[in-house]
């Protein structure tokens, strides 16, 4: 029997499939777009087809993320915080166990504290704005006229001190970036400045739940190595970044799907 987790976020839809031992069989990341429901169905079916799995073999599907309640194909729903914790706990075991999780998503960021068994002990989310989220990076990349994927490289090309980005609002940061460009700062310097600005904000958030020696960092922006380096410095902790950082929450939902199925089927 196969089990699935689908994480419908503001920017991307993530699907993960596991077997009865919680082993990850495959995963897929797709854009949420404006027809998120259709895109979610396609992402799921596409992954099943790619893995050569028949829909009937899918024993249980758990949905999570902002769109979870609108995805009626799922057997159950779970909040993305709990799903993220379950996924990170499982992945983190290979790294010696993690108890602090930082997730940066498309429209929010969170810090979660779990115990050694993976239970959520405490969590905080950022305020209702895009500061310190993936959207912030998106806006900055557009201003700098570089690809989102290039931000990390630019970060490491800098020698010298990056300028501070003081705005905590994504909209104001945009004009701040334009101002810095006009003042003659290089794109490299501004990239690094942005990464440190986000890292500082996230570190403040994470302090509220307590930062462990080792911190699990996931969500799309965790692909940005420049940001990861800035985070490591601000947090003063070892970062654990999974291979595909976008899918931890979907993976957690899939594990929960397997658990629920096992409970219900003895």
């Amino acid at each position: 029997m196969i089990f699935g987790g689908i994480d419908i976020g503001s920017t991307a839809i993530k699907v993960a499939l596991v077997d009865e031992e919680d082993r990850l069989l495959g995963a897929r990341v797709a854009a949420t777009g404006s027809h998120f429901h259709q895109n979610a169905v396609e992402a799921l079916n596409g992954l099943l087809a790619e893995q050569g799995i028949d829909r009937a073999q899918l024993g249980f599907l758990t949905a999570t993320g902002y769109g979870r309640k609108l995805f009626r194909e799922a057997d159950d729903v779970i909040s993305e915080i709990t799903a993220n914790a379950i996924g990170a706990h499982k992945v983190g075991l290979a790294f010696g166990g993690v108890e602090t999780i930082i997730n940066i998503g498309g429209q929010d960021s969170k810090a979660i504290r779990i115990d050694a068994e993976g239970n959520v002990v405490n969590f905080v989310m950022n305020d209702k704005c895009a500061a310190g989220t993936g959207r912030f990076l998106d806006v900055a990349a557009r201003n700098l006229e570089i690809d989102l994927e290039e931000l990390g490289e630019y970060h490491f090309r800098l020698s010298g001190t990056p300028p501070p980005i003081n705005s905590t609002c994504a909209v104001f940061a945009e004009s701040e970036v334009i101002g810095l460009l006009a003042a003659g700062y290089s794109k490299e310097a501004i990239c690094a400045g942005i990464h440190f600005s986000i890292a500082r904000r996230i570190a403040r958030l994470a302090k509220r739940v307590g930062i462990d020696r080792r911190v699990y960092f996931d969500g799309g922006p965790a692909l940005n190595r420049g940001l990861a380096a800035a985070m490591e410095q601000e947090l003063d902790a070892e970062l654990v970044i999974p291979e595909i950082p976008q899918i931890t929450t979907a993976y957690g939902a899939a594990i929960l799907a397997r658990e629920t199925w096992s409970e219900e089927n003895g």
Binding site: Y66, I78, S79, E80, I81, T82, E117, N119, V120, V121
Partner: protein, 424 residues
């Protein structure tokens, strides 16, 4: 601004209030199955007062802005106290005209509400008693005065433990009694005050019975209904309110006999504390209960703190009674404005224990500094006692509803799994 334009704006805000109120009343009634029949009175009360035409009291009305204002004195002079603390988002936005943008929603909404034509149940209200509690409420008193109301500034000490504070407070209350005598052109009498104390005590007794019924496991009443009931106390005729609550209590007791619960057996039991839910801003309580939790107790000034502690009289002489009334409104008050507020922690821990709660939800309105500050010490005390808690900073705007729902659901999920682990 021409009168005509300001009239249109005021009417528009009233329409917005009616819309907010109707939406919340619909959620309260339709999203929860099998509400007690006795709640009908309260649903109708809010429907009439907020969405239709409210009924005048037929007696002089004195506006109040705080739980610490001794309502017994107002009743004793045959006037009606009406608590003006407002929960409407449209008035919160309108009130931003008077206060800095980052101030508390409740204070701004109260100002926005007062700065327009009053609804029928407040017709003729000229006097407002404003307590000098937090900075924002203290300064709001001045603004209300500028709107043309006669404002009595009830001076509240920032400490309640010292003998000086108690003396100061008793003087403040005595002064308020004199203000009220002048405002109503009546004389405070022993008999009048005794009757008033009895009237309020009867209402409190009904509340306490409801409070005790909330201990029941599984829960027999939802917190959204309790907040509606206690919010009704702000403005309803006190005797009618008490009778309606007594009838509801009776029905709830019968439901317990018949084994009819409000919330599912395993719904996480929540203790609610912090900035007060005031109708129609029942955003957070509704998010909690729609996500499958049930609020079984609260420590807020729109509910439990307002009604739990009664006047204790030693001697039925006028001045002893006035002092006793003063004591009721200071000593048991657990408002975070007080310099030392260990009482609040003690009360929360006691409520958490005796109501067998699974977790605490702490609401702080953005801009309400005292609740924001006290969050740290309260959370630390709860953590030490092994009680999980969720701190939520929010305001009247509906913008954060999606995020709030996710956070609350995650909190309830963690409480459920914690309970499962305990059982194992």
């Amino acid at each position: 601004m021409s009168t005509e334009v300001s009239d249109i704006r005021a009417r528009n805000r009233q329409t917005q209030q009616a819309m907010e109120a109707a939406a919340v009343l619909a959620r309260i009634q339709t999203e929860f199955p099998d509400n007690p029949a006795g709640m009908r009175y309260f649903y109708d009360l809010f429907q009439k007062t907020y969405c239709e035409q409210s009924a005048p009291h037929g007696k002089p009305v004195i506006g109040t802005t705080c739980v610490q204002i001794p309502e017994e004195l107002i009743y004793a002079l045959d006037a009606v106290p009406v608590r003006l603390c407002n929960g409407t988002y449209a008035f919160d936005q309108a009130g931003a005209e008077f206060m800095p943008t980052k101030s508390c929603s409740l204070v701004k909404a109260t100002l926005g509400f007062l700065n327009q034509e009053l609804p029928a149940h407040l017709q003729g209200m000229r006097q407002v008693i404003n307590a000098t509690t937090c900075d924002q409420k203290t300064k709001a008193g001045q603004i209300i005065e500028q709107m043309g109301y006669e404002v009595h500034h009830l001076e509240v000490p920032r400490s309640k433990d010292s003998e000086q504070a108690r003396d100061y407070w008793r003087h403040s209350v005595a002064q308020t009694a004199r203000f009220l005598e002048q405002a109503t052109h009546r004389k405070l009498t022993r008999r009048g005050l005794r009757t008033a104390i009895g009237k309020v005590a009867r209402a409190q007794q009904a509340f306490r019975r409801l409070h005790a019924l909330r201990r029941e496991k599984p829960s027999v009443v939802y917190g959204k209904d309790v907040f509606l009931i206690t919010n009704g106390y702000f403005f309803d005729d006190i005797d009618r309110w008490t009778e309606a609550l007594e009838a509801l209590n009776q029905e709830l007791e019968e439901r317990i006999q018949k084994g009819i619960n409000a919330a599912p057996k395993r719904a996480p039991r929540i203790l609610f504390t912090g900035s007060p839910p005031v109708f129609p801003n029942l955003k957070l309580p509704l998010v909690i209960e729609q996500a499958g939790g049930v609020i079984v107790a609260d420590e807020t000034c729109s509910s439990n703190r307002m009604l739990y502690d009664a006047v204790g009289v030693d001697e039925w002489f006028l001045y002893d009674m006035v002092d006793a009334v003063a004591d009721r409104h200071l000593k048991p008050c657990t408002c975070p404005i007080f310099s030392s507020n260990i009482d609040r922690q003690r009360r929360l821990l006691e409520l958490a224990r005796s109501f067998e709660v699974d977790g605490v939800v702490y609401q702080a309105f953005a801009g309400c500094q005292v609740y924001e500050i006290e969050q740290q010490s309260v959370t630390a005390a709860l953590t030490e006692a092994g009680v999980p808690s969720l701190y939520v900073e929010t305001d009247y705007s509906p913008d954060d509803l999606g995020q709030l729902t996710t956070r609350v659901e995650a909190f309830l999920e963690s409480l459920r799994s914690r309970r499962r682990r305990k059982r194992q």
